[in-house]
Symmetry: C2
Subunit: 162 residues, 2 copies
Amino acid sequence: VAAPLFPDDAISRLIRRLVRWGGWLEPHHHHGIHASLSEILALADLSTARGLTQAELGERLALEKSTVSRLVTGLERQALLTRERDPANRRFVRLQLTEAGQQAAERIGAHFRDQHERLLRLLTPAEAEALGYGLTALARVIDELAAPVSPGETPAQPPAAG
Amino acid sequence: VAAPLFPDDAISRLIRRLVRWGGWLEPHHHHGIHASLSEILALADLSTARGLTQAELGERLALEKSTVSRLVTGLERQALLTRERDPANRRFVRLQLTEAGQQAAERIGAHFRDQHERLLRLLTPAEAEALGYGLTALARVIDELAAPVSPGETPAQPPAAG
DNA sequence: AAAGATTGAGTTGTCAATCTTA
DNA sequence: TAAGATTGACAACTCAATCTTT
């Protein structure tokens, strides 16, 4: 038999599963919430960082500014956030969750945390520890490849618990 | 400070990086190849398993049959594969890579393998081992959550070489 | 001119309805 | 009927062009 043409290691197999399994990536219609994945992630970011500009939100979500513009239009129409021109510099549109938006973020966040916990409970302690160690390292090297270190920057990050 | 509304563990952080970094998920225009991610994965599967039906290809790619139909139409127009009705059962469309399709699969596969190797070389041996162990376990529990075993089914699959 | 946001055209995916063959 | 494939209508993204503000 010939060697496989495409990579066939643990990373590749994991990615296939993540793609196939809807739990992580697909639109959600739970708890009376009808929101796309990007809407959910936008609510998550805005619930933590209030007053982001659209460009900043796009940076966090890794989305085009045009996509962000239409995404935010939709959330505004659902009264989940307000758009306001920054009085100090009217080029910026500042975003704030409404009360309804904040509540939606909390409901959806609880759902995601719950899903994560269910998944992690199925791992043995040794597996969970190895996973955290290995994924942290993988995230590091992805960053290294994606953004080659320029001398002025600080590649190190404070370690996070968990 | 309040607890984070959304999960903030190694898995979440990794997913964010995978989403942001184009190396894994984005369309590729390298080596004179102009192909979407799905086209690339289709070539990968067809280079290994010749004569798949469209439904089988859709199962492997986790894509709707309608998406597969249009995807295959595009590959056929680029003369990378041929479509042929199965004479034994004319409901099936059987897919075969052309010579050009096979060569494209090999070029793209080499590119992906190279990218993987570059990434893995940046890990220490201990990190690589922990990653493999942890991800294999994660893949297992994703499968458990995604497809709860029903008594009649055979969850085991024949091991693939590689 | 340049930065932030919006609008227009095209791509890739989904779901629902239909066509074809068994 | 039903399985496989196709077509139609729509969603969410991209890139390129434009509008607004500095």
